[in-house]
Symmetry: C3
Subunit: 213 residues, 3 copies
């Protein structure tokens, strides 16, 4: 159905991308608020989550960073800043919604990273790493700016959902599936892994501290 | 007057740029000293403030980082390191001078960022962001290296002076003013905003922590 | 001898490079373990040490990051992760071996940085800085990810061994020595300085904190 109507698919993708960017920006701004940063600090942290991973990817690919070609990402971050400023109290009640949005962002950013890297004719293992960087590096930059240990180095499975999605995309492409169906399946796999990980608190094993064990 | 004598204008700009680079390097080295870093750590922190923002800008523009084309920035940082090593005790008495130098640096780096980005034919809103990155990102990198929260996310208005200067530069360009006069006006606007902000402790509002309010 | 048999020299260099990458990755993963990061966090910290410096160099040179052109660096980091997971307890007994491997990595990464920068026709002072970045920046990124002050800003001489090696390489090139002999001499000089620094706890002077002195 989606293949038979590329315009609808494109609009859906843009909508999900906007929602993902918005959710990523919100996560940065809320954590900046918890550190009592000012509005500018909030904007930078939000923008860093929203565009950080894709910017690192584009710089390594030798491409112009994607956010410099369309003002939507800046606008989206300003909009997220206004929402946090105006509705800070109400945001707590929406944790589940943010989780869903953030996961959509992770999945869609991963797919965008995979496809752009393949477009630049790199190997698939490079694309999988770039997909993971696109989806997860922004959160690491946010935590570095907040002066705290990156949460994704300890919490429920996050980046590995992106890597798993990349592997699925690879297998489906090898199997000859078209881009549209491969993307949708990858999207669903990443969301499923992430939701299961949060629901059942599934984490990767912690590295043993050699001095204590 | 400055337009009628481009050589004088160029010399004045180079002198201010040297002073700005020097002041930026000093700020990094002094904060490294407060953390008891060694001389190498001081050099890296000073160099990071002096060239960090412009390097991020150039990498995103696809240009060779500016400091790789002239040794003046390395020399200037080494000179700043020597000054801090030899005259550490005297530096405290010069706080006002450092504030003035640092503000000159912010203003001039912002203008350099604006002009270089426009030269690469990006939109004006990209140039304003790049001007802000050129002026303010070095200080963020310094704070990340020092393992502390970036001060410009909480202190008196700093980065927003750069953004305001970028908007003024945009308006003046739209109004058809030439580059020289636009640059001088932008320089004065940034310095004025920054000095007023420090003098009267003007800050952006702090984001409310949703858990406490 | 080495010159008369380029294939042996190449194999030796690849072997040392693999050992250096492995040692760098181990250092990142072990420090991630001390912070109780999970396997993914360990991989990222290890990979950051192994490829961080060279990636910054390549991005500034306008080259494709080296690790994107051969999977050996990813494989090497995964292998290092497995070693830390399986043999955490035994690693403590090998401190001296890690020091030697890590120093080999520093020396070889420095030389790789020097040569690649000169290949891109930059000045020698740029090459010396790039050599130092290639060898030492990965460790700084690791410490930023671990949310701690970079150890090389305070510890025994490390980055300055790389800079000294760069100066030696410069002098030998000026003197007309061929690349092979210049490289070997530089390698030995860096290792010697580093081993002496560790053996006799030679550090750079600490910057004086102006407020306390």
């Amino acid at each position: 159905m989606i293949n038979s109507n590329p315009e609808v698919a494109h609009t859906v993708q843009q909508l999900i991308e906007f929602i993902g960017t918005f959710a990523f920006a919100i996560s940065g701004i809320r954590m900046a608020a918890a550190k009592h940063f000012d509005w500018f600090g909030g904007f930078v942290c939000g923008f860093a989550v929203a565009i950080g991973g894709g910017t690192i990817r584009d710089v390594m690919l030798g491409a112009t960073p994607f956010w410099m070609t369309s003002s939507i990402y800046v606008v989206c971050t300003v909009f997220a800043l206004l929402v946090v400023i105006l509705f800070a109290k109400s945001l707590n009640r929406m944790e589940n919604a943010w989780l869903v949005f953030d996961t959509f962002g992770l999945a869609l950013f991963t797919i965008a990273g995979l496809q752009k890297t393949l477009l630049y004719e790199h190997s698939f293992w490079v694309a999988i790493i770039m997909g993971c960087i696109t989806g997860a590096a922004g959160g690491i930059i946010r935590d570095v700016l907040l002066n705290q240990e990156p949460v994704i180095f300890r919490k429920d499975i996050y980046a590995m959902a992106s890597v798993a999605g990349g592997l699925v995309y690879w297998l489906l492409t090898l199997a000859g599936l078209n881009v549209g169906l491969s993307s949708i399946t990858t999207f669903l796999v990443i969301c499923l892994i992430r939701f299961l990980a949060v629901r059942y608190h599934i984490s990767l094993p912690i590295l043993r501290d050699e001095k204590r064990n």
